[in-house]
């Protein structure tokens, strides 16, 4: 598989503060990656380092297997960092032309990309007259101008209203469907869960996890059940080695699995013990619950 970005033992110190500590991970072509972490966990610093705006203290990184210099590689990358940064006195088209000149691509993609983000009818408006949502969409158009190998988005929905958030997510999904590699940094977990296949979890600059989203914890999920005889059922579950924690909340019993078990087997097991279920749901923890488990344990 083609490697797009390889980060090896990167460390960044701001004075006595270590923002990123000995971080390593690899971005392969064709996946959608999420970088997760609370505010101040080093997400933006990491992206800043690979995007040539923050100097690393130690470590190495290479784009496209180190075949080109960083700034040449960035011409094949589309990136948006936190806030859309454009020249306020230029129109949308003028701003995009400037980006084309920097990246060394022709102007003929400008209208096409403005169309994707729905700004074609505002192309001759000044950037300063745009709303935050429009600015963010222009930033995405600008990042797409060179048909990038990888799209890097840092908190793309930060500060947007629900409609704006929805629009940005739809655009990202659309791009992901087309097979573009995406690296998305966010503290909004449902955002990452909805679009990412892989995650890197950071806390205080330290990597806690890197890999597939569904393998983030070794959990086998849990059952939510109700029955005709809850006390008997709880006793039965507590004595069964397949189950770990049993929680009761609002008459709903939650039983966490220690090993894989199918819901039909669970139902059969209960019925054989003369317990008749009135409610049975098998679920896996949401990314949020997994993330909290992961960050709490360390």
């Amino acid at each position: 598989m083609e490697t797009i970005l390889n980060i090896k033992n990167i460390t960044k110190k701001y004075g006595s503060l270590t923002a990123v500590k000995n971080l390593s991970f690899t971005i392969e072509k064709g996946h959608v990656y999420g970088i997760l972490g609370p505010n101040g966990s080093g997400k933006s610093t990491t992206l800043g380092i690979v995007l040539n705006v923050v100097n690393k203290t130690e470590g190495e990184f290479s784009w496209f297997n180190g075949s080109v210099s960083t700034h040449e590689a960035l011409k094949k990358v589309g990136a948006i960092i936190e806030r859309p940064n454009f020249y306020p006195y230029m129109t949308a088209v003028q701003n995009l032309k400037l980006v084309c000149k920097i990246k060394g691509v022709s102007f003929n993609k400008i209208d096409e990309k403005l169309e994707i983000v729905g700004l074609l009818d505002r192309k001759d408006s000044k950037f300063s007259a745009f709303s935050l949502g429009m600015k963010q969409r222009l930033a995405i158009a600008s990042a797409l101008l060179n048909d990038p190998e990888i799209l890097i988005l840092d908190e793309p929905t930060n500060g947007l209203d629900p409609k704006g958030i929805h629009q940005i997510r739809e655009i990202i999904k659309q791009i992901a469907v087309n097979g573009t590699t995406i690296l998305l940094a966010s503290h909004l977990l449902d955002e990452v869960e909805k679009v990412c296949s892989h995650v890197v979890v950071l806390r205080k600059g330290v990597k806690l996890y890197a890999g597939r989203v569904d393998a983030i914890t070794s959990s086998h999920g849990f059952f939510e059940v109700q029955s005709n005889d809850d006390t008997e059922m709880i006793k039965l579950l507590e004595n069964n080695p397949s189950f770990g924690d049993i929680k009761v909340q609002n008459n709903l019993v939650t039983a966490f699995l220690k090993e894989p078990m199918k819901s039909e087997d669970f139902n059969k097991l209960m019925f054989e013990n003369n317990i008749i279920l009135t409610h049975l749901v098998q679920r896996k923890e949401s990314l949020e619950e997994q993330f909290l488990q992961l960050t709490d344990h360390q």
Partner: protein
């Protein structure tokens, strides 16, 4: 190189305030020089015609026009510091780098722009001086016309040097207003150093040392022409003679400063986290 110049020109020329300032800094001095070369009737009392005084004679005219025109460099200095300040306040410097501009290219695009505008200004002043001179001057032999042509060279070097200093201050403090304040502070500091030196050693030595300071060395490229004009009227007063010529070592000093400022600007940006 053209790509970088083209980039920066787009940033500048689409901005109304820099357009106005560029216009002022390039057109105003020539306009003033042109006007002064005309006959001016002061309220019908008397007619002022500078051309009559012989100041538009070759070769002294080269000295005079470059000296006056270079006083207007301050307007373009505002453009230079604001072209850095704006990049920081709009955070577009960050976006430029992310889009694939290297830090070196960023500085060079600013420097090329400085050289570009200095060159335009130099070419303009060459032609304006030449035409005024040809119109007024009593001597029009080619050898006399091009005698003090070194002032044109000095003018170009002076502009490039001064704007490189502005570029460096712009990169250093990131804000246009503070960068301009720094220029003023540097001016004061140079004179304070001069005062300290002259009280400790002697004023002659102090001035020689001061001639190496950035602002003074740029000023020294084109010395004030008034004394020379007076001198030309009273050739017998040898007490007034002073060294007004453009020396190659003066040019070298300024070129060294220029190289240093551009290099330091790059170093600053390279080591900075944006």
């Amino acid at each position: 190189m053209l790509r970088l110049l083209n980039l920066e020109l787009q940033k500048l020329l689409l901005n109304r305030s820099s357009r106005v300032l560029i216009f002022i800094s390039f057109v105003l001095p020539f306009f003033v020089i042109l006007l002064s070369s005309l006959k001016i009737n002061v309220f019908g009392l008397f007619t002022l015609e500078l051309g009559e005084l012989g100041v538009f004679n070759f070769p002294i005219i080269w000295h005079l026009t470059t000296f006056f025109a270079s006083q207007f460099k301050f307007f373009f200095a505002i453009v230079v510091v604001s072209m850095i300040g704006n990049e920081y306040s709009n955070k577009t410097i960050k976006q430029n780098l992310i889009d694939g501009l290297s830090k070196k290219e960023f500085i060079m695009s600013k420097f090329y722009t400085i050289v570009f505008f200095s060159l335009i200004s130099t070419v303009l002043i060459f032609f304006i001086t030449l035409s005024i001179g040809l119109y007024y001057s009593s001597y029009t032999e080619a050898s006399i016309i091009f005698t003090d042509i070194s002032y044109i060279m000095a003018y170009f070097v002076k502009l490039v040097g001064f704007f490189s200093l502005c570029l460096f201050f712009g990169m250093l403090v990131k804000r246009s207003a503070f960068a301009l304040a720094f220029l003023f502070i540097l001016f004061i500091v140079e004179w304070i150093l001069y005062a300290i030196l002259s009280s400790n050693i002697n004023s002659d030595m102090a001035e020689r040392i001061q001639n190496f300071f950035p602002l003074k060395s740029m000023y020294k490229l084109i010395d004030q022409p008034f004394q020379r004009i007076t001198m030309s009227k009273f050739p017998d007063k040898s007490a007034m003679t002073y060294d007004y010529a453009v020396h190659s070592y003066e040019i070298i000093i300024v070129l060294c400063w220029t190289a240093l400022f551009v290099f330091l600007s790059y170093k600053l940006l390279k080591n900075r986290d944006l």
